[in-house]
Amino acid sequence: MNFDLSEEQLVIRDLALQIFTEQATVERVKEVEKSGGFDRDLWQQLANSGIQALCVPEEFGGSGFGAVELALALVGQGRNVAPVPLWLSGVTALALTDFGSPTQQATYLPGIASGETVASIALAEQGVNDVMRPTVVGSTSGGRVHIEGFKPAVPFAQHASLGLVPIDLDGSAQIALVDLRSTTGVALTPVATTNHEPQAHLELDIDIPVEAILGHGVGIDGREALRSLYEHSLVGLAALQVGVAEGSLALTATHLSGRTQFGKPLSAFQATTQRAADGYITAEAMRVTALNAAWRLSEGFDARRDVAVAAYWASEGAQQVVTAAQHLHGGIGADVEYPVHRYFLWGIQLASVLGSASAHLSRLGNLIART
């Protein structure tokens, strides 16, 4: 039993944090926010330093790490609210590695490792959000698959070449690998979002070869692949939230130490410090549950309970922390010139992407009662 990170993991964590801290400065993030919300320079930097290739197997130019190492990098990203789609490419790499056919792996993994391929995952559904029951429908006919349907607010879709699209294919769940740039019948409508992340509604009316279904020809269980994609996505988002919570608390500590009221620093008022301390406790709960879920996924264990717990804390806990941090900043928090608001916006937007705390509790409740 050992909760310590390995030497390699420490190196990855520190490297990622260093890149994000150096590149994603407040000024830079502000600039990117105004010009589309995707920091391509940082993206390239992450490729150059090997962070993009973390979860790509060595034979395709990566270093073959898993969910834990990806989570460590994402914590560093969240801490600096850096506008890049790292969780999407990391989770996509893991899905291709675990479920892709050799051809699919050879087609996409090198590009992910080099940063050339930007991947997107279309998890959200309209209405009741049950990822495991896609509403986008596909039907096979003579080596081709026809896919029709709508996926709302797909993150970074307008920048992505590869889209992972969960579909109901002839009655069973599968993941389609869709070239979002050059497939006829792909319609993308960019939408504005709370935290300025680029997203687009995705309308599909396409014909693709059956070879574009994840794992085609190698006999995978599509439902398992979709569950794995979903669970890795939740854990990636949870790791981002850990960083977001950390970052907002760090800014809060600075603010409370520096701001003077009634002749004393704000930190001399227990009403502020007790609230900040509660945030710390919540952030630690988020951290240990996210790392545990990542570890169980990386070991290939059944992680349904662990992922539900991590997702619950990442949704509920992060909102508590960023709301407290924003409030403790007083008036200055309302001014977009000051960086703390960005953590608030990220915290609530990621919570929306994760799904409500209540939904994760319900899933967990079903697992508990079943056991």
Binding site: G127, N129, P152, T194, G263, A271, A334, I348, S352
Partner: protein, 405 residues
């Protein structure tokens, strides 16, 4: 005790509703003239408020609680509340006059000179004068009395230099109420003067602040050698703190007295989104209704006291805190109901983006008019009789204080 309308009140309500039906459009579900989202056309919203206020005045519905000598109706706080309850069901814009009618008016009525009253009260009621409040400073925050903007006497004028912040609608205001330090040798509360400032005076620069919501409701205001005639002092030189208390109490009441939505809107939202039958959602809706009921009855109690010309008790402080809490929790519930759609913003947002804006504007409610923390302190003191927090700097000269900014 009579918690419902009396016969007279019911008549008044019917009269108000009939007039509103004739003069204002009903609210529809997803768009509100008085929504919090003015990121796209704030100037248009201000104009709409001016227009509606003028309609109110022309038909005798402006300044319901103001004395008749100042153009008001001399009616009770309860009648005003009835009118506002009815008006809340119509799609009209009123927010711009929160400062003018809600704070400046009562302050001038209580402390203004006859000339000041004569000059400003009627135009305010008519919607001709938009006012802003130049109280907060970057360095003062909750410790408002530590403010450092200086006003120095020069002949018949005062010359003002300093920086203010969180100036609501400063870019559209005709006049401002201004607090400035006129004697730095006295303790901090004792050297402040309350001024009326014409916002067209030379030396005023207003810079909008873009808020987290994208709206530019607030501003920074820079004052450089701005001249104010001595006749614009309200309540006497160095007596400004007392005058400001009237303004601040009215600000708290205003914030605590409700928003542009209610728990019913939340129920409607859940029904439109098809999740009102979900037991978890329904529980949150019931909580929202339960909270709203407490606000309603705390408000009744406050207005009962005001109508009897009594000072409301500490429940008025509970009201603002409970309201801020209700606002936050209701916005979070709405965001939960919207799910992934809650991320959408601006023109792409659904439900006119009102719930996203509510979530993001919770902080203005919780900070403006006294932070949650300050309100708690006052409740501990006045509601529970706990000793006041020690204020060691209370009697020291302002100049000697450990200030920032």
């Amino acid at each position: 005790m009579h918690i419902g309308d009396t016969r007279e009140e019911a008549d008044y309500r019917a009269q108000a509703r009939a007039w509103l039906e004739a003069h204002a459009p009903r609210k529809c579900d997803t768009h509100r003239a008085d929504s919090v989202d003015h990121s796209r056309d704030l100037a248009g919203h201000v104009q709409a408020c001016r227009d509606w206020q003028s309609v109110l005045f022309d038909h005798g519905w402006a300044g319901i609680t103001w004395p008749e000598q100042f153009g008001g109706k001399g009616a009770s706080a309860i009648q005003a509340a009835i009118f506002n309850e009815e008006m809340a069901q119509f799609d009209v814009a009123v927010g711009t006059f929160a400062v003018s009618i809600g704070m400046v008016g009562p302050t001038l009525i209580a402390h203004g000179s006859p000339e000041q009253q004569q000059k400003h009260l009627a135009p305010i009621l008519k919607g001709e004068e938009v006012w802003c409040q130049l109280f907060s400073e970057p360095g003062s925050g909750s410790d408002l009395a530590s403010l450092g903007t200086r006003a120095v006497r020069d002949g018949d004028d005062w010359v003002v230099n300093g920086q203010k912040v969180w100036t609501s609608l400063g870019q559209y205001a005709d006049y401002a109420i201004l607090l400035a330090r006129t004697d730095g040798d006295r303790p901090k509360h004792a050297g402040i003067t309350y001024f009326i400032l014409d916002m067209k005076s030379p030396g005023i620069e207003v810079r909008p602040i873009t808020q987290i919501t994208g709206v530019q409701h607030f501003n920074e205001t820079f004052l450089t050698d701005v001249r104010i005639p001595d006749s614009n002092v309200v309540g006497g030189a160095n007596e400004g703190w007392k005058v400001a208390q009237t303004t601040l109490a009215n600000e708290r009441n205003f914030i605590g007295s409700g928003g542009s939505w209610s728990a019913t809107d939340l129920v409607d939202l859940a029904q439109r989104r098809g999740c009102a039958a979900d037991p978890h959602v329904r529980q949150r809706l019931a909580e929202a209704v339960s909270r709203q009921e407490t606000l309603k009855y705390l408000g009744f109690r406050m207005r009962t006291a005001m109508s009897q010309k009594r000072m409301p008790g500490p429940e008025i402080l509970a009201l603002k805190l409970a309201f801020a809490n209700h606002w936050r929790l209701s916005a979070e519930t709405a965001i939960g109901i919207l799910g992934a759609d809650a991320m959408l913003w601006g023109d792409d947002a659904i439900e006119d983006n009102q719930w996203g804006h509510h979530l993001l504007s919770q902080f203005a409610i919780r900070i403006g008019g006294g932070t949650d923390e300050i309100q708690h302190n006052i409740i501990a003191e006045r509601g529970l009789g706990l000793p006041r927090e020690p204020t060691p700097d209370k009697n020291l000269p302002w100049r000697s204080l450990n200030r920032v900014g």
